[in-house]
Amino acid sequence: DFSTPSKPAPTPTPRRKSKPVPYAPPASPATPSAVRRSRRLLDTPTKDLSEAALFETPAKPKPAPAPTLKRKRAAPSPSPKTPARAEPKRKRQRRAPAKRAFYRKVVYDGGEFAAGDDVYVKRLEGAESDAEDPEEPEDCRVCFRAGGGVMVECDACLGGFHLRCVRPPLRRVPEGDWACPYCEAEREGRAMDRPKPPVGKKIKRTAKEKLLDSDLWAARIESLRREPDGAFWAKVRWYTIPEETAAGRQPHNLRRELYRTNALGDIEMESIVRHCFVMSPKEYRDATNDGDDVFYCEYEYDVHWHNFKRLADIDDEPETKEDPSDEPYNAANDYNSDTDEDSEYDEEDEPAARCSARKNQSNEKILNSWKGRIYGLQKIGIRKIPEHVRCHQKTALEKAKATLLLATLPKSLPCRDKEMEEISTFVKDAICNDHCLGRCLYIHGVPGTGKTMSVLAVMRRLRSEFDSGALRPYCFIEINGLKLASPENIYKVIYEQLSGHRVGWKKALHYLTEHFSDGKKIGKQANQPIVLLIDELDLLLTRNQSVLYNILDWPTKPNSNLVIIGIANTMDLPEKLLPRISSRMGIQRLCFGPYNYRQLQEIITSRLKGINAFEDQAIEFASRKVAAMSGDARRALEICRRAAEFADYRVKQFQQVEQTSSSANSGNGFVCMADIEDAIQEVFQAPHIQVMKNCPKFGKVILAAMVHELYRSGLGEVLFDKLAATVFSWCHVNRELLPGYDTLLKIWQLQAW
């Protein structure tokens, strides 16, 4: 009966449930979901070790020294902060920069702030007085004392309670949702007085409460810099609370939900209060014990268009692409050197400024053309977060459907270890050698055997290896032959990815040839090796095969630093090409054979791990069937998904029937053999038979007559005239009503397939 709007459907269920704030419209009782209960152990309020070291140990409850809330922030604080602001900035960088300097990490005011961190920010200059000690532990709502035992958080009012203070007392932190007795009473409409704080003691508001009451801001630090005058500034991206959006707080918003906005701001470091933790749904679910400053953020809010958008799982492409250029190659290795941790880019924020300038005029931009494309897509979004994504609890079948989706990236890629190993050694060899000569790998295999996926997985793995500093930086370009308008366009695309400029393909070819053979390098990544992945390589074939020749010729040039991985379906593509091309390409090959049924079974079961929706035989049946036909993993996954859909459909229909007639037995929520059978039928069987069964009488007669005529004449085709004669004679013999010639012709037209 705890009516909590439950969690977003597509994302893992986070743990803190919330009830709507009092002034929000009363939420319709949604499905109560059995999520894990939030557990806030408030006797250890700090979570960050570095902070814990800097501030006083918070385990000792502080006796709320100030009689009023208005308290100078710095003065009574026991933190090792010196009164003057400028001194404690213990930057690790010693050089006095004459111009703007950008830092990755700044130690300011006792806290260590790095780009990418989330922080509380003071709203007003004057509001400083309102600030209190940042690490003040929260008081219990009943006894108004902090510390002294485990506290739990009410999921509705977010108040903390000692386990022993709750009536009846709790033994341990409850599982699932928990609402304090007061909230519970409120919901039921009973009046129940909340305990009043003892006279003379004000309830201290924690930073979290202030934030949610819009007395503080939260922001994410995008970059840190020092102005020439020595002041420290941060460029931040604001977070906003649901109340401040155009849609207001919606019933299904979580209590701790924040939205990331696209508004950027420059703030002085002084106004930063301290760290908070804004987490993605997945992190949020796992963060059971992280204290009070944890927030949930799933959506981005566009301040111009007032709409919401889910945050992309992976950060945007341009960011990741920029990365290697920002960092010097060996930055990760020597943290102790003089220039540690700061990278200085001269006025690198210029593009950002340009970008924001452009954003303002983006309304007029034409979007489907190249220049205006990126700006203005913000307009797409939803005014309100639709309820159906949140108020829906997933059944096992729905979870199974989601994981079987082709688009979901599996956690592990079974059955292709050998091939992936080979690819990764190939790429590593090519990258680590300073002079990689004529490296070219040809990968072939039937569709759906994981060729592209394996290569991309290897590249991801190498990328993380590179991030940890074990690998030279390289440039990875991915091209799909079928997505190019014409084979020549590949030059254009490669050049654009290398340099960021757009030119015609002839010019691009010219530049690229210069780049690879003459050593005139384009772009910043001067001598980085380039890994070029060409998917659907056979689509690049032109009549004189010049495109393929040009591309495959580059790696043979002395200092091209180019590695090509080509993917195609045909095994003997190199043999079909001109000898000068096949000699350049066909040396190193890798074959992706079709999966056998065991592998398919493993793929499916690995995806379905932890979801109890499929019978084992059903999976085996599906994988055997697919392995016998094509060995296409996509096909197998689709069949299983389709079968799950059938089962789900059956269950839902059954529930509908049940609602009306309230019958007793429950639907079978398992995907069984029959469902798989149906799915396979649908995929592999052409529906001709069924249509023929259902076609009108004369249609059948015509078909029969046609077969008869074809047999009689032994030819491949038959004229309608002859056919009509046969039909008429048959009808005459069988004393059927004679159809007219024109009618017959009409039927004929209808049946033509």
Partner: protein
């Protein structure tokens, strides 16, 4: 006797309503894909029968009710949503299956691709439209529909452009005609990603799906590949009357296609009867007088249980049992409604059936003049002689030879024959064999017959004025 050469109007049934019906019957086979359009055009094309309009003056009471009822029935027949509304209730129809598929991909944020297969006129498009309407109501502004037609957009460049245009229109963005197809493709993929992040589902409706499955199928590939690699929410719905449409796909496209198929077949006899009841029975609580409605319904039920009606239904469904054909039939039935009493009778059904089964070519052969028949026979003889190409002069030679062989008296001058020849051309019983040589004089252009010898023989047998 003087040959009736000039402008003989086709000898048809006398009533103007029948003429309209016939002209409809002429027109309809040419455009099988848009029966509803033709039906909706009919009320304009066919004014109420003038004879009954004259009679309406005397019994003032029944006529307005009758025409009102007729209007109601016609309105129903022309409204695809009403025709298929019966499907909404039952769980085992294509409607609910399709709705489940699409709505689950809307609410569960997944991608799907579906093929709707079936012969023309089985209600693929109508059912899809209903599903989309319903879903738009259920999920306001979470769905955007992109419609493409294989006839118009089978070219990849033009299809991506159209997609970009419709996406822009849907989201009130400005659209540039100048953008290259690369740009458009990229824009489409960006939009798919953004829409996926915004919980918006993009539904691509590809009519005449088989026409998209030609050539390199770049459009389908990039669509389906985007669907499997991004966090997008998109549904591709293909409509085709080629049953093997998925076999036409290229192997890598096929591998990405998620093989859901829904088969639409012509309905069974029981279904048709139920559909007819659904369409023709009047509601009790309509604006029409109650006693009229009960009387009307009871008469209709008695017709439905009539044996003769079963025969009518059988002969109708023997040729074509698709929904669109049934609708066409019922529209005629309603048009034949007796305006005096305002009830449907058995005759309405039989008349409508006979007008459905009219043989337009035979009809027009019936009222040809003797000379025109002569010309046709000559052409037929030439074709029997396996003469591939012949023109007016060759025909005249053949005509002469007939004259000589049978020594008949009805001999006409060449100019008169030429007029008859032109008339046949106008009637489109014969046509030019090729399109070139427009500037060649008419009598030298090669022609060919548009009717078979069997039809000609049959019509000669039936023609009472024929001397043979």
């Amino acid at each position: 006797h003087a040959p009736p050469l000039l402008g003989t109007p086709p000898r048809l049934l006398p009533s103007p309503a029948h003429t309209a019906a016939l002209s409809l019957a002429w027109r309809l086979p040419g455009c099988p894909s848009s029966p509803s359009v033709a039906l909706q055009a009919l009320p304009v094309a066919a004014p109420p029968p003038s004879s009954s309009a004259a009679r309406q003056l005397t019994p003032m009471a029944a006529a307005p009710v009758a025409s009102q009822a007729q209007a109601v029935l016609r309105g129903r027949l022309c409204d695809p949503a009403f025709v298929h509304s019966r499907l909404r209730s039952s769980p085992d129809t294509n409607y609910s299956k399709l709705k489940y598929l699409v709505s689950s991909s809307v609410s569960e944020a997944c991608n799907n691709s579906v093929l709707l297969l079936g012969p023309r006129g089985c209600g693929k498009g109508a059912v899809l439209d209903m599903v989309l309407e319903d879903l738009k109501e259920e999920h306001p502004d979470a769905i955007s529909v992109i419609r493409l037609n294989g006839m118009l957009h089978s070219d990849d460049n033009c299809a991506t452009k159209e997609i970009a245009r419709q996406l822009c229109l849907e989201h009130q963005l400005s659209f540039s005609k100048m953008a290259s197809s690369d740009d458009n493709t990229e824009f489409m993929i960006d939009m798919l990603r953004e829409c996926g992040l915004a919980h918006k589902t993009v539904i691509f409706v590809l009519e005449e799906f088989d026409l998209f499955a030609q050539g390199k199928q770049r459009l389908l590939y990039s669509l389906l590949d985007a669907m499997q690699s991004l966090t997008s929410q998109a549904v591709v719905i293909g409509l085709s009357c080629r049953l093997d449409a998925d076999q036409l796909l290229e192997k890598r496209v096929r591998s990405r296609f998620s093989h859901r198929k829904l088969l639409f077949v012509p309905s069974s006899l029981d279904d048709i009867q139920r559909l007819m009841e659904h369409l023709l029975m009047l509601d009790k609580d309509s604006s029409l007088p109650t006693n009229y409605v009960t009387e009307y319904n009871s008469r209709l039920t008695s017709i439905f249980s009539n044996k003769k009606f079963k025969g009518v239904l059988d002969s109708l469904t023997d040729t074509d049992a698709t929904t669109s054909n049934i609708l066409r039939f019922l529209f005629r039935v309603v048009s034949y409604m007796d305006m005096e009493s305002g009830f449907l009778s058995m005759e309405c059904f039989t008349d409508a059936l006979s007008s459905m089964q009219r043989q337009p070519k035979m009809d027009s052969l019936q009222d040809l003049s003797i000379l025109e028949l002569y010309i046709l026979v000559c052409m037929n003889r030439l074709e029997d002689k396996e003469q591939k190409s012949y023109n007016f002069n060759t025909i005249m030679k053949e005509y002469k030879s007939i004259q000589d062989a049978y020594k008949t008296s009805d001999k006409y001058a060449t100019t008169v024959c030429f007029r008859a020849f032109e008339h046949l051309l106008d009637r489109e019983l014969i046509t030019f064999a090729d399109t070139k040589g427009r500037n060649v004089a008419l009598e030298y252009r090669p022609v060919k017959l548009l009717i078979s010898s069997r039809e000609l023989a049959q019509s000669l047998k039936l023609n009472t004025t024929c001397p043979v």
